[in-house]
Symmetry: C2
Subunit: 195 residues, 2 copies
């Protein structure tokens, strides 16, 4: 990708981020690291998430397109919130997901892209990698903690309170660990030197 | 990485694979694709897994080093097998995991590495990426289906039969989809052309 082409892509990505900020569609917990990365020459961020807990209803296994979000929380939760969201379940498998942060980054050249991946891995984002090195260089920063648990079917929650308590405890742990990893990444990216 | 260095690494990886085969430590379901990749100049495979269902006991959240494998199946399972394995649980959180295949590949040069990632993605291995482009070029081929469900604690299984049946059904689905994706990858890699 030529320099001009990269700069155009970066400008467009920054505008999208600005719009998303105005519309309050950017997770607060991730804004600082996105801004820091965007300040570095040769990088820009695209769609990213600070980590979240999700209650999802999937009509048939694998049918992600037909999935309904019954609850989305970018923070730790309480059992009663999960139970309340589950009352809206109707048909299909109920999944509780706890997802670590995911950052998508465009890079101008390969060596700094590789450095960014190594930096992220050193902060605990062990699932980070270069997704593409073709015309565009794309990085994904992600860690390995997660919970993907089927917890009910056709409107019925299968878990008793003891089980729900364990699931919520672990989901909250994913969120808390995510925050710590983002804090670590912020400190490293502040010192990131592409030269 | 120079050509000689790459060839040495490939030779060493092939020897390891041969030893693992003799010791029956290679998942049968993955051997064909590993052999096909190793036949291509400029690539070699390292530690890989055909996908599996695992019953894991983790003493404390995040303490993967202290984890105990109570059951590992590289095939679909029945509820009674899961229940039997769970009787050996003692202390900590019981996790049921269903994991898609994961292939680790070394590549000599970047362009074919990128092509291999794109090929894998087109076969449904959407989580494939270039993990490193430094001295060694390393690819990971992986897909997104998975189940990571805490199902008990301190020797107690929290799930009733209805819930276990759902968990086993979905875990088996992960294994079956994995097989289909590997079959698709076999067909594509047979025609893979690095020129």
């Amino acid at each position: 990708m030529g320099k001009n082409e990269f700069l155009e892509a970066k400008e467009s990505a920054l505008k999208s981020l600005e719009t998303a900020c105005v519309e309050q569609k950017v997770d607060e917990g991730i804004l600082q690291i996105l801004e820091l990365i965007n300040r570095i020459e040769g990088f820009y961020t695209s769609s990213s998430c600070a980590g979240r807990i999700v209650l999802l209803q999937i009509p048939q296994i694998g049918d992600k397109r037909g999935a309904t979000f019954l609850g989305v929380w970018h923070r730790t939760i309480e059992i009663k919130e999960l139970k309340a969201a589950a009352t809206n379940a109707t048909k299909g498998v109920l999944w509780l997901l706890a997802q670590a942060p995911i950052l998508h980054i465009g890079a101008q050249t390969l060596e700094p892209a590789n450095m960014m991946v190594k930096t992220a891995i050193s902060c605990g984002f062990k699932n980070s990698a270069i997704k593409s090195v073709g015309k565009k260089i794309r990085i994904e920063i992600c860690s390995t903690e997660r919970l993907d648990a089927p917890i009910g079917r056709d409107g019925c929650l299968f878990c008793n309170d003891e089980h729900l308590s364990l699931l919520v405890e672990i989901s909250n742990e994913v969120i808390e660990r995510s925050r710590k990893k983002i804090d670590r990444l912020v400190k490293k990216v502040e010192k990131f030197d592409v030269c």
